[in-house]
Symmetry: C2
Subunit: 171 residues, 2 copies
DNA sequence: TCGGGCACGCAAGATTATTGCGTTCCGGCG
DNA sequence: CGCCGGAACGCAATAATCTTGCGTGCCCGA
């Protein structure tokens, strides 16, 4: 279980990470100006975030509706047999299906929440059939078609800056 | 309604966009090598994607569990009064709450699906109380605590490359 | 058949990122 | 109480990357 204790973050770290998770396109100079640090100091911190796995990757976010019609759906799923192997197989199918944006295993009567993105209602329907109806280990599933995307993103609420790591040599 | 007809995309466009939405950290040189184009040609295409709004932004993705304990939840919500104004107010609250990662308005008995990210179970609970219990226009809501994140991301399945835009001057 | 539009590659030129170095601050230890 | 090592900083030089101007080839429409 790769869980080295969460690195201690000072206020500047939190500011930087928050800036980056909202817009990773800025220059080191800009970032530095924002948090009051030189470009090289900013660069070194960011390198550390990467090394520590705080930043996993950097992605371009596409606008679904600029690619023509797009159908989103949230699907609630309950498996029939709950064996370890069945769960594994289901998860693997979700991971390997490009139209599956997100998949969470959850507590309660439902086992999974799945977010789908398809190019048409027809594809969305087919997808539901293929992923859930054709699987005879799915007890029940319910498709919640998305009318409107109010908010989207993967931004995390960052923990308040821990007062630790107070030793630093800036003026 | 700002909907200029979706730009036609050739196979290279699709490849580039797909590469970018999975890893926007590559250099123009790398991307060019991948799709068989010079760095400058790649740069010009990407500039166009931005101008056309295909790429909305570029973000760093953080690993929730590297920041210490993290609690995710999917919440299903049904409003009481369905007036336009009530919907607007709810949406605005979702947008302005950092712990709300995603919020979709959906068809069916439930009105919204909301994805929450909190630093602790306690914060998650408080958040539910603040966002939903304290709102007397919420008829009912159900919290699905996330046990495991099987898959996450915002990647779109890209449409098959349209054969259009076949005129281009590359060797 | 000719001309315009468009995308390309190449090669400067401009910007940005990276690294080496010397300095300061802090905490631990003799 | 003073010294030493570690960590982070700023500055400046270097390296890498991005951006842009220019000339060329291709396709389409006139």
């Amino acid at each position: 279980m790769p869980e080295p204790p969460p690195p201690r973050l000072d206020e500047i770290d939190v500011q930087l990470l928050d800036l980056l998770q909202r817009d990773a396109g800025r220059t080191l100079h800009d970032l530095g100006e924002w948090v009051g640090l030189s470009p090289s100091a900013v660069q070194r911190r960011i390198a550390r975030y990467r090394k520590d796995g705080l930043i996993t990757r950097q992605v371009a976010v596409l606008d679904p509706h600029r690619f023509g019609p797009t159908v989103l759906a949230a699907v609630l799923v309950t498996l029939d047999q709950e064996s370890f192997e069945h769960h594994r197989a289901f998860a693997e199918r979700m991971r390997s299906t490009p139209q599956v944006q997100q998949c969470y295993q959850v507590a309660g009567p439902w086992d999974y929440v799945v977010v789908l993105a398809a190019r048409s209602m027809r594809e969305c329907s087919r997808l539901g059939n293929r992923l859930f109806k054709a699987d005879d280990n799915i007890r029940r599933y319910e498709t919640l078609l998305v009318f409107d995307t109010v908010k989207t993103g993967l931004a995390l609420p960052l923990p308040a800056s821990q007062p630790s790591r107070s030793q630093d040599g800036r003026s």
